[in-house]
Symmetry: C2
Subunit: 178 residues, 2 copies
């Protein structure tokens, strides 16, 4: 259910189209709730049926026309209620770590390659997060709005650094394993 509230929260800041929202939410980097384009369109439709948001058709020349969604007072109330509630517990789906849990069935080379692959991925993600950081620190916003952007980003950076540390230690441990 948090996907709907994620979208509501974004619409509460600015009116946006399904296309805009799906770009924000589909990149793993920079967000804490990933969803596909299809899911975004489906959720927007549901929320519009429920009266939380309203769409406005915008005609464009040279580009397909688009539906700009706005949040309604009912949507704002629902959003604030969700925001004040204690958060649902996170769902863990980390296929790589599941594979590591069964690493005893692989040979040394295979294990090392798997870890190196994941390490490269996290190094890239860390870099993307750090590039993104500049925008926020430089932004001329009220302190609270600044925090709302920088604290989750800071978490992203810390987690990527932790991943990389783990990979380095794991590679060393596996290498020593004879």
């Amino acid at each position: 259910m948090s996907l709907e509230f994620t979208l509501l929260g974004l619409l509460n800041r600015n009116p946006r189209t399904g296309y805009d929202l799906s770009k924000i939410v589909s990149r793993t980097t920079n967000f804490y709730w990933t969803a596909t384009q299809t899911q975004v369109y489906q959720s927007l439709k549901k929320m519009a049926d429920r009266g939380w948001i309203t769409s406005e058709t915008i005609l464009q020349t040279g580009k397909p026309s688009k539906l700009l969604y706005h949040i309604n007072p009912e949507g704002q109330i629902a959003f604030m209620e969700w925001l004040r509630d204690p958060p649902d517990s996170p769902t863990m789906k980390e296929p790589f770590m599941v594979q590591m849990y069964f690493l005893d069935l692989l040979d040394k080379e295979e294990i090392l390659n798997k870890i190196k692959f994941i390490q490269a991925m996290h190094e890239q993600r860390l870099q993307e997060f750090q590039e993104y950081r500049g925008n926020i620190v430089a932004a001329d916003k009220s302190l609270k709005e600044n925090m709302a952007r920088s604290l989750p980003l800071k978490a992203g950076i810390l987690f990527e650094e932790t991943w990389i540390t783990w990979c380095e230690q794991a590679l060393a441990d596996i290498n020593e394993m004879i």
Copy 2:
């Protein structure tokens, strides 16, 4: 799909009942793929239909009889294929961080309370992980099998420590916010 392979991997180590497996997989602590009891029973049925696993009824006195599942050669082949494949990318569902992303709509006290709540949760989880660690380090197993248990656990500990660090910094930042 990784849930089925998680269960297969566990069955490959030891025959188990749905009840046993659901206990392992439903505690967030200590595993990287969480699932409910219902889902475990459903997945076991599917895998049995597919011929990956076989069940054996075990009658007990004073307790309900149980179905002990064993992995079949077909199941072992499917499992090893999955294990060698590059892992699927993880799915991020972190409702707490989504709420933090919209923290500008809450007042200082509410934000501090939310963070303290999550901090306490992670401190508890860290403790559980650390208690769990003793068993593994002390275990008298071959190095590879030992790694399969200790590396993912080590990751869990590092991530919990990172969460706590983030919470401490976040609390300090919010407090300084006037």
